[in-house]
Symmetry: D2
Subunit: 152 residues, 4 copies
């Protein structure tokens, strides 16, 4: 799908990464934002016991967390300065156990609505350079204006 979004904020990249750095959960998980383009964001998470479920796979909650953050910032990258983003709902299908060395969440905006943008994130595991789709994620975000404490 051709992605030809034009950002309303020329400094969108700095704004997204500055906001990402305020997400304590991403620091706690050890997730890194590795790509920011208009309407597209990628986040990487290393596999480790610290993010695992009981069988040693990466926990679905950790996959959902990076998929959600990626989707939210994909949406934020298209918003005007001072507008904040919140997630209203998301759905994730876990199509394979998340094994391997790390996972990468690749989000793209599907519908850049003014108030309720929709984004999808594909999550891939990486094992010795080979990518496998492990999760499909769809979220509805919300653009928030004029609410104290909810900007960027």
């Amino acid at each position: 799908m051709l992605n030809s979004f034009v950002p309303k904020d020329p400094a969108f990249k700095a704004r997204v990464t500055a906001s990402f750095d305020k997400q304590g959960l991403m620091i706690t998980l050890g997730a890194c934002i590795v790509h920011v383009a208009p309407g597209m964001v990628e986040i990487v998470l290393q596999a480790s016991p610290a993010v695992s479920q009981q069988h040693g796979f990466i926990h679905a909650g950790a996959l959902a967390a990076i998929a959600d953050t990626a989707a939210g910032y994909a949406a934020l990258s298209l918003m005007r300065p001072g507008v904040g983003v919140l997630t209203t709902e998301f759905k994730i299908n876990l199509v394979a156990p998340a094994k391997g060395e790390r996972v990468v969440a690749k989000a793209r905006v599907i519908k850049a609505g003014r108030t309720l943008p929709v984004a999808q994130t594909d999550v891939f595991s990486e094992t010795e350079g080979r990518e496998e789709l492990v999760a499909l994620f769809t979220a509805t975000l919300m653009a928030v204006e004029g609410r104290e404490g909810v900007n960027d």
Copy 2:
């Protein structure tokens, strides 16, 4: 709704808590399992910058993680020994920002299917003793038998 599930494993409580203790992500987040009954599990998470998103609310990914773990163990509590549980998909609606001192995820099995149980989790924030619903969560779990490394 009357919950009258009869567990197939009299030691279900020990099995659930032993499995919970293997979830590295729960330890990383600081989540605790506080209630285990047949088809019902509750998990508590303290609010802190370590689990926050950019505005200081608890991150939707952290809410999803404890909701998912609670739903999975609610389902596991009804399974025979040696059967493992995996999540195949879940959906979460974030109906209010997760503020307050802590959140509690209360899961219950809605359909105790032999292979694909369905569970729902309500997540509440607690602020000075007052509970507020912050998230509605529904998951399809999968009972896994005879797959190496996937038991309990």
Copy 3:
């Protein structure tokens, strides 16, 4: 769950049923609205080959249709006159095949948000007077004001 919503429009019942009568799809399916209370709506659909899938069960799309209509009108019942309701997203879990003589969709508002209410619908099949849960449904609605053609 105690439902203690106070409708903003004393004529909410007439408004809901008048709007329901404009849903051509409900007429085509033969669905009837059988209960309207503040934040709660019930819709009934008779089983017949006209609403079936290939094995003779009621089609998941027909279940989703009545669940969605019930959820939307449960939300509309709490809105001011002149405000319209649209569905932004929904999720349905089909926990048992929909057999029997008819199905009933019972919706209730979970969160009566000003702009994005959330409602859940349980769908039951009825066979010789016995009810069985066949589907769990959750929707995010949207209150629409001042958009031509979208009221009630």
Copy 4:
């Protein structure tokens, strides 16, 4: 995304269309299956008051019905003869009102699991030859073997 599925049944196309013809709901709605390829199915529905909601748009339930049927048959196209398909859950995001002359649901299998395939359907409205995305749909299907009355 490259779709390179190899069907297990050379007669997959005839099997899918014969099964589609048994879906009473599709006949009732006036939906037509217009494309069947390995792991891909397209279904078309004409706009009319018979499938509308209260504002004259095509009802979300009708969109979900054709999206679900398309997803199910995309999955069935890859299954062995005699195996039946059921939907276990689906999620739909309605990203724009469904106006125009007709809608087309384009489904593709994302994960061709042996027991729980996952498919996605994009639904487009067509207005004077112009396509607009109106809905994003994701479903988990289930392959059913040896259950009487549930084949194809």
